[in-house]
């Protein structure tokens, strides 16, 4: 199954027929694997990876470190789930170190992100404090370089 998933992760536009060719599986086999992985919530979606900076769309991203008090029996789970439900959050992790949760937040402006942190995030039960790291420039995301020149060329013919 992992060969099919790896190929899809690299290029979600590959058709089941393409994947069958590349893996040596039958198309029916690939179809079945994709269906099973989707049902099992292993395969979560298909996305284009876009550099919005270059598309002149203004967005403000910030990584928020959250200090919190764990709750009896559930620890940080209930809190993390509540935070995750805000559409402004793009990623939520339980982390080691000086903070308990790391939350990636996106808004249209810095003000919007600041408002979200102070009004929404802070009011979640158990949150004791936050530290905001606003993203100033992106170099690499999801394994792709942004704004770093990768244009080295090969000769078209070589022995």
């Amino acid at each position: 199954m992992n060969d099919v998933l790896k190929l899809l992760e690299q290029d979600a536009r590959l058709t089941p027929a393409d994947i069958a060719k590349a893996t040596g599986r039958t198309v029916a086999d690939v179809d079945a694997i994709i269906k099973q992985a989707t049902d099992d919530k292993i395969l979560l979606g298909y996305h284009a990876h876009i550099n919005w900076d270059k598309a002149d769309v203004e967005e403000c991203w910030a990584l928020i470190g959250v200090k919190a008090t764990p709750q009896r029996d559930v620890g940080f789970d209930t809190m993390a789930e509540r935070i995750s439900r805000f559409p402004e959050t793009r990623a939520v992790y339980l982390v080691t170190g000086d903070f308990d949760l790391a939350v990636m937040v996106v808004g249209r402006t810095m003000q919007e992100v600041a408002d979200f942190v102070s009004r929404r995030l802070y009011s979640v039960d158990g949150v004791r404090g936050t530290n905001s790291f606003f993203i100033m420039r992106r170099y690499k995301e999801q394994g792709e370089f942004l704004g770093i020149d990768q244009s080295a060329q090969r000769l078209p013919f070589a022995p």
Binding site: D3, L7, L14, A22, A158
Partner: protein, 400 residues
């Protein structure tokens, strides 16, 4: 312009040596010129990885430069690298080479092949070269004053060299057998049984063997057999290996030869006068590759394997019969069903559909009727190229 002894600059004529005149010009030169005037070409004509050298390896070279490792090294190569190569060969293939006297670091396998031929051959000697062949073997033999003798391989045998064909080509003048497996241009590999039979022929006729194993790590069907690891073969084998293909390090120009001390010593003698030593920073990078590159090798092989299956299956689907290449990163489909020569096929494909492949005839007479299509290119590009080739072949269905 003066070439091969024609009229030259301002009436001056130049006498180019017979030896160099004997070497044919590269068969792919004219494609370069054609390609220079075109846009949107997908090239399957390359002979190198599309991956950039893994960062940790590049970083090691930068570190070496920062430290001022900018001097000559020992003619043999740095002791550190020779030890690493010795260790690597023992670990992978169980062959033992003394890092001090049996390993020579070279400017790629290209140089190592030249050195081996010069060290082992005299005028009048014959060298057996399996065909289709990598383009440098015959010229190296000619430059060493020897005569290359082609031993054809056939698609019916998956382009595996047959011991009987080797034996048939042997004359009293035969000194050396060149092996290049996994093979460029066919992608063929030899089984252990094939190699054992060939080794037996070499033993019977007392031939030396130069085994170019630059593609050893790019195998898709079981472990590579190192020719020198066969019983009794190490004393008559010069093993050539390198970093270009496994670690995507083509531009670093770094390879090695491993063999009996007297031959390595003789090769070093030529090497010290011709190149002095392999680039120092490339040697530092190679040490890092052997120490920490394994994970990246595995990742690249996995990617090549997806592409390999895709390209072979695509060629067969469009009626260009393609045997399954089990090594390197080349496919070698037959284009006979089109009725075109491999040269006409490659030229037409480039002109009409802007896909570059190398005509099989560039690799010797037995490559006629085939083209070499390299799959060291993204799956995306391969997909598009296959659509274009299918369209081209549909327009050129020859009489069969």
């Amino acid at each position: 312009m003066s070439r091969d002894g024609g009229p030259g600059v301002q009436g001056q004529t130049y006498r180019i040596s017979q030896r160099v005149q004997q070497i044919p010009a590269s068969g792919i030169r004219k494609f370069f010129d054609l390609l220079a005037s075109m846009d949107g070409v997908i090239s399957l004509g390359v002979g190198e990885p599309d991956f950039v050298t893994p960062w940790s390896i590049r970083d090691a070279a930068i570190e070496a430069i920062t430290h001022g490792d900018t001097h000559y090294t020992s003619n043999f190569g740095t002791p550190e690298l020779r030890r690493a190569i010795s260790h690597h060969l023992e670990k992978l293939y169980g062959v033992q080479y003394d890092p001090l006297s049996e390993i020579l670091v070279t400017v790629g396998v290209s140089e190592a092949m030249d050195l081996a031929m010069r060290a082992l051959l005299d005028p009048g000697d014959e060298v057996l070269v399996p065909e289709p062949t990598y383009v440098s073997y015959n010229p190296c033999a000619v430059l060493a004053g020897a005569t290359p003798v082609g031993v054809p391989t056939y698609m019916e045998h998956d382009f595996r060299l047959q011991a009987a064909d080797v034996e048939r080509a042997i004359t009293p003048a035969t000194q050396l057998l060149v092996l290049g497996y996994p093979n460029n241009p066919t992608g063929a590999v030899l089984s252990r049984a094939d190699m054992t039979a060939i080794g037996e022929v070499a033993r019977r006729h007392d031939l030396m063997v130069v085994s170019d194993e630059i593609y050893d790590r790019l195998g898709y069907d079981g472990e590579h057999t190192c020719f020198a690891s066969l019983p009794g073969m190490q004393p008559r084998t010069i093993l050539l290996g390198g970093f270009s293909k496994a670690y995507a390090m083509t531009g670093w120009r770094i390879g090695y030869a491993a063999g009996p001390a007297p031959v390595i010593e003789a090769m070093m003698k030529v090497h010290q006068y011709v190149t002095m030593c392999a680039p120092t920073m490339s040697q530092a990078a190679a040490v890092e590759a052997l120490a920490n590159g394994e994970h990246e090798v595995q990742d690249m092989v996995e990617q090549y394997n997806y592409r390999r299956r895709f390209i072979v299956s695509s060629f067969n689907q469009m009626g260009l019969t393609c045997f399954e290449p089990r090594g390197a990163f080349y496919s070698f489909p037959s284009i006979r069903s089109t009725g075109l020569t491999s040269e006409a096929f490659a030229q037409g494909l480039l002109r009409e559909e802007k896909v570059a492949v190398v005509p099989g005839s560039a690799f010797g007479a037995s490559g006629e009727g085939f083209v070499r299509a390299c799959y060291a290119t993204s799956l995306d590009q391969i997909k598009e190229a296959m659509d274009r080739i299918a369209r081209f072949t549909a327009h050129h269905r020859g009489p069969e």
